[in-house]
Amino acid sequence: MGRQRQLILTIAAAVVAVAIGVVLSYVIHWFPVQASTQAHNTDRLFHVLVDASIPIFVLVVTVVLYCAWQFRMKPGEELKDGPPIHGNTRLEVVWTTIPAVILLALVSYSFVILHDNEKKPAREIHVGVTGQQFAWSFQYPPSVTGGAPVESDQLYLPEGESVQFALHSKDVIHAFWIPAFRLQEDVVPGITVKYRATPDRLGTYPIVCNLLCGLGHSLMRATVHVVPRAQFQQWLKSHAGATVAGGSSSGATTSTTAAAAG
């Protein structure tokens, strides 16, 4: 009677809390703008994860609050004990199996997204990225420029075209992160790390070094410019044969890039 009503009330409150949580999860601006096809995928995955998590979190909090409300010791119960329930095998099987299934489903879905984000497109351009304490430089090979290779401390990318970055480090580890693309990889001395992005929104977005690389780490920023193909071509032409000052001598820092921090 009394307790049953309170239980129904609690369940109703929990359902409302889940609903509010899910609505909020779509209202809150969690992310910077989406500027790559990968960003759309990853944000979708994030929302699936959050929506799966909210009921679980609400369940735990609800049970805790309900128990604290209904089962707290009342005056006169100082020496009372609860019922000696030692377990329930069926219940234990249920709360082992269901989470396992949910987790495997989520991780499988994440693999689908991962595959989508990383699959090789029919056409792609190649851009070299070099990290050094504490600046970025970008190399456009002849296959992209159609002429002499171009090196710049600015990253220009044509909109809607898949690009594969090849990351090199001249000194310690950095991480090449473009939050608007939701993508990053470490820039590791001695190996070449590659990843793909398909920018799909015009604009300029910050590039952030996201692995501690020394004193200037917080200033190791650059900007990516996503531009229409024609403008990209134009920019390449105007930089034909250009190299970054000091870019080839390791250790020398180009101040222009560091100053471009967003």
């Binding site: 910077p32 004990d81 082992t96 190996i191």
Partner: protein
């Protein structure tokens, strides 16, 4: 005076440490001469002397205070002194400042000194939040800031969370299993004294030329192999802290396996004992890996081994694999003992048996096994072979299952109980909610495309603090309040305790909750300066964190005043069934004046007439039955 200088203690340690510096100077001089340096012109190399000193001085300190005396006597063929128990137990506060072989004294030594490092680490965090209150430079430069967060993390991991659990375990485990002490009391004493050494090294790095180690507690090579000499303080500090945890873990394992009271079968052990058993397995298997990783860094730095120098054929990613092969299990080393505490507190304060006791024990072992199969989830963006990510993501998702079993079992334990909502219980309930959030963000991080975006951002900072603060620290507070009467013989102030809980719980969420959003929005961690769009949230976080820091004062005041003048504690104020509550508070010097015999499970609340252990009369061998293996002579 001469006798003082020869007797184990701080005087002997003092001159021995001075000798250590002289030894380091001499050794490096001889080596440099023999490798062609001019005898008198360049005989001093500050960094070389410092490096050797950092090994020799701490070791000689430990020799000086008497950490090795007994074994040296034995090794030298001298007559070992008969154990007169003169180093056992504490009669005055001075007995806490010497080599002491009483597990209860060591437990208090461990716990109190760990809390000292919590305060230092917390103050360092305050400094960081002051710097981050606004974009641009406020108080400290980049080098200092990098040193602050590196030392903050290292202190709180290696000198707070890991050792404070070792301290609580040290005090409680022998009592819980009905043993008079740990299996190796001298080793126990030594393992404690390694801690202040490790702490002195890590804090001392602030005075090193070039500043404190500043590459994060992760100390990734090749940044760490080329850093100023402060990095050596970290590489060696980790050795001492790591050796301490290995010794304690071995001690726990042997104690739990061999010293259980008659009738205390494995499946009658309290879950705190199970949790420390599982943790100790993790420690002895995993800790040598971080020791190795830092030895590699040391050899690269001091002797040019080039393990991690890509230009000389070194392998940069290898560092991360070795490092995380320890440092992922370390997450569980810092969590499983807390799981044990929560089980104790919930059963006693909800007046019910733990729901699914066996699954609680098995899930601990499952976490131990699975814990070694997930390390590369810290390396999803490291540039390692991309296929490795797939199995590591699967195991990372699956390891949430045993953790989920524990959460659900605790919730079911609450169901229909009689809940005593005092301070320890509030921290346990708070833990259930905040740790669930930390677990959820952990599962999200197993999803590779999402991890790729937030790896090394403030989302990670939020996650790790939900696990280590919302998880570990909440359990530590629960445990400290729960066993405070047993450890000190006094009761704490319940009202202040509840204030401490509510301020901590609310301000914790206000401090670390918003960090999730900062990370998603694109704020990297480990930066002293950030884009102006993050300014508002950072200011909010800083204010909340200062208040969170202040809330600790309530705890400190409560602990200090209650310890000095709180009401005298009864032997069993919570009406617990486990054995530590069946002896006086604080317990007698050898724990049990009568040997306990265990006759039932540890959490038989609500079972009429049930007891966990009986003391007298001890059952005769005939009633126990032949061959049951419980007829063991009391060692006291």
């Amino acid at each position: 005076m001469a006798a003082r200088l020869r007797a184990p203690g701080f005087y002997r340690a003092g001159w021995m440490m001075a000798f250590g510096v002289a030894f380091a100077t001499g050794l490096t001089w001889v080596v440099r001469m023999s490798t062609g340096h001019s005898t008198f012109k360049h005989f001093i190399d500050g960094e070389a002397i410092l490096t050797v000193s950092l090994i020799a001085v701490p070791l000689l300190f430990l020799v000086g205070i008497g950490g090795f005396d007994y074994w040296f006597y034995w090794a030298a063929g001298r007559k070992t002194r008969a154990e007169d128990h003169s180093s056992h137990g504490a009669r005055s506060w001075k007995d806490y400042f010497r080599i002491n072989t009483d597990h209860k004294v060591i437990g208090v030594q461990y716990t109190v000194s760990s809390f000292f490092f919590l305060l230092v680490g917390g103050l360092i965090a305050m400094l960081m939040r002051a710097e981050l209150a606004a974009p641009g430079a406020q108080f400290v430069d980049a080098n200092t800031y990098n040193g602050l967060f590196s030392v903050h993390a290292s202190l709180l991991i290696f000198l707070f969370v890991i050792p404070v659990f070792a301290g609580l375990g040290n005090f409680v485990i022998p009592l819980m299993i009905g043993a008079p002490d740990m299996a190796f009391p001298r080793l126990n004493a030594l393992s404690f004294w390694l801690l202040p050494v490790a702490g002195a090294l890590m804090l001392g790095s602030f005075f090193a030329p070039g500043g404190a180690f500043a590459d994060g507690w992760t100390a990734y090579a090749p940044l760490s192999t080329n850093a100023p000499v402060g990095q050596t303080f970290f590489a060696l500090g980790v050795q001492f802290a790591g050796a301490s945890s290995i010794m304690t873990a071995l001690n726990f394992l042997v104690t739990i396996i061999t010293m259980r009271a008659p009738g205390m079968s494995f499946f009658r052990m309290p879950l705190l004992v199970w949790a420390n058993f599982a943790t100790s397995l993790l420690v002895v298997i995993a800790t040598p890996f971080i020791a190795a990783s830092q030895f590699f860094v040391l050899l690269d730095r001091a002797l040019g081994f080039n393990f991690f120098n890509a230009a000389k054929g070194g392998d940069v990613l290898m560092y991360q694999h070795v490092f995380w092969f320890y440092s992922h299990p370390a997450v569980y080393i810092m969590m499983l003992p807390g799981f044990g505490i929560i089980s104790e507190v919930l059963a006693v304060k909800a007046r019910k048996p733990i729901f699914g006791y066996r699954m609680m024990a098995f899930s601990l072992l499952a976490i131990v096994a699975l814990g070694f199969t997930v390390w590369a989830h810290h390396m999803f963006t490291s540039g390692m072979a991309s296929w490795i990510r797939i199995p590591m993501a699967v195991t990372t998702a699956i390891i949430a299952v045993p953790t989920g079993i524990k959460i659900f079992s605790w919730l079911a334990t609450l169901w229909r109980g009689v809940l005593h909502l005092d301070t320890a219980m509030l921290f346990a309930l708070g833990f259930l909610t905040t740790f669930t959030l930390g677990g959820i963000s952990g599962v999200m991080l197993a999803m590779i495309p999402f991890d790729i975006h937030v790896s090394a951002t403030y989302f990670i900072v939020a996650h790790i603090h939900y696990v280590l603060f919302g998880g570990s620290l909440m359990t530590i507070f629960a445990g400290v309040y729960y066993w405070f009467p047993k450890m000190t013989g006094r009761m704490y102030d319940e009202r202040l305790g509840k204030w401490h809980f509510w301020t901590t719980f609310v301000l914790f969420n206000l401090t670390f909750g918003p960090m999730h959003i900062l990370g998603l929005q694109g704020m990297p961690r480990r930066v002293e300066d950030y884009a102006s769009k993050f300014a508002d949230l950072n200011l909010f976080i800083s204010i909340a964190s200062f208040a969170l820091g202040l809330s600790t004062l309530i705890f400190l005041y409560n602990m200090v005043t209650s310890w000095r003048g709180g009401p005298i504690a009864a032997s069993n104020p919570w009406r617990g069934m486990t054995l530590e509550w069946q002896v006086s508070s604080p317990p007698p010097i050898f724990n049990f004046d009568k040997l306990p015999t265990v006759v039932g499970g540890p959490y038989e609340y609500g079972v009429p007439g049930a007891v966990h252990g009986t003391f007298a009369p001890t059952p005769t061998p005939a009633t126990v039955g032949a061959g049951s293996g419980v007829a063991r002579a009391p060692s006291e």
